[in-house]
Symmetry: C2
Subunit: 140 residues, 2 copies
DNA sequence: AGCGATTATAATAGTGATTACTAATAGCGG
DNA sequence: CCGCTATTAGTAATCACTATTATAATCGCT
């Protein structure tokens, strides 16, 4: 059904997330959307992003403490640079990897899986000095 | 070497994280630590947690946007309830699962891996009404 | 012992992302 | 037309976290 009342910016905001194509923050979306609709409010962006997430049209993730959004797509892993916050997709078959976890826990119902790999992006590897003493053998 | 200067609360804070045994937030640690050392400050808890993370003695993770801490241990996955925020460990061999990702991306250096599974804990499954229309086949 | 450099501290003010609240507006069913 | 409700812009409030500030404890050195 078409929305009633004030003009819905839902579609604009979804289009904007789609056009930004990376993993934009709410603020990124806001900055971009106001180019089209200069009067749009940050609160409106948040509200509609939340709605889009609830509808399942957009995926929300937290990287380094702040929410980022992407249009729903096949599951994939994310690389996150611990220094500059850069994010890259890894389009390997996560769902395959994750299968053994499907029915592990007693009573829990799994809905969504995130595989996040933290490290250094190429740029920050060049810049950053001593690398963290790897706390053990995470990737052994 | 023993710490110089004012009395270090490092050890107390590490002990507290260990005793809480779940995935306490900074505030959880603060509340607990002040039972032993009532004059301790929240900033001190944050400062020392950061230090412990840097030393590799404690692991930091963000669930649903807020930092939680646990003593370092073998890598494992986490279940996160999207409703109440409950967290459970899944002690399967994550490192095994993750091997195919080790050297995937060009130029990136992987350091740490998190596998997070979001869903509903047993309690919230009983309570919560309609469950989200699963946005596709994440766990197919 | 006494002194300065170092480092941790408590208390508090500040920051930045997110949410809640407010009054206003626009279309629909009756 | 008349409420009804979804939505809005704008702003205040919240919440986790960080920076600042002034203070105090301990060390190495003399």
């Amino acid at each position: 059904m078409a929305p009633r009342g004030a003009p819905s910016h839902r579609a604009l905001i979804e289009r904007t997330v789609r056009s930004l194509r990376g993993h934009p923050t709410a603020d990124d979306v806001f900055m971009e959307a106001r180019k089209v609709e200069p009067s749009i409010s940050l609160a409106t962006v948040y509200r509609n992003l939340r709605a889009l997430v609830a509808e399942g049209r957009v995926r929300e993730r937290q990287f380094l403490g702040i929410s980022r959004f992407e249009v729903s797509q096949r599951p994939h892993a994310h690389l996150v640079c611990r220094t500059c916050g850069a994010i890259a997709d890894v389009h390997s078959d996560v769902s395959e990897l994750v299968k053994p976890f499907r029915q592990l826990p007693k009573g829990w119902r799994a809905e969504e899986v995130d595989l996040e790999i933290r490290g250094l992006c190429p740029k920050c590897q060049a810049t950053s000095p001593a690398q963290l003493p790897l706390p053990g053998d995470l990737l052994k």
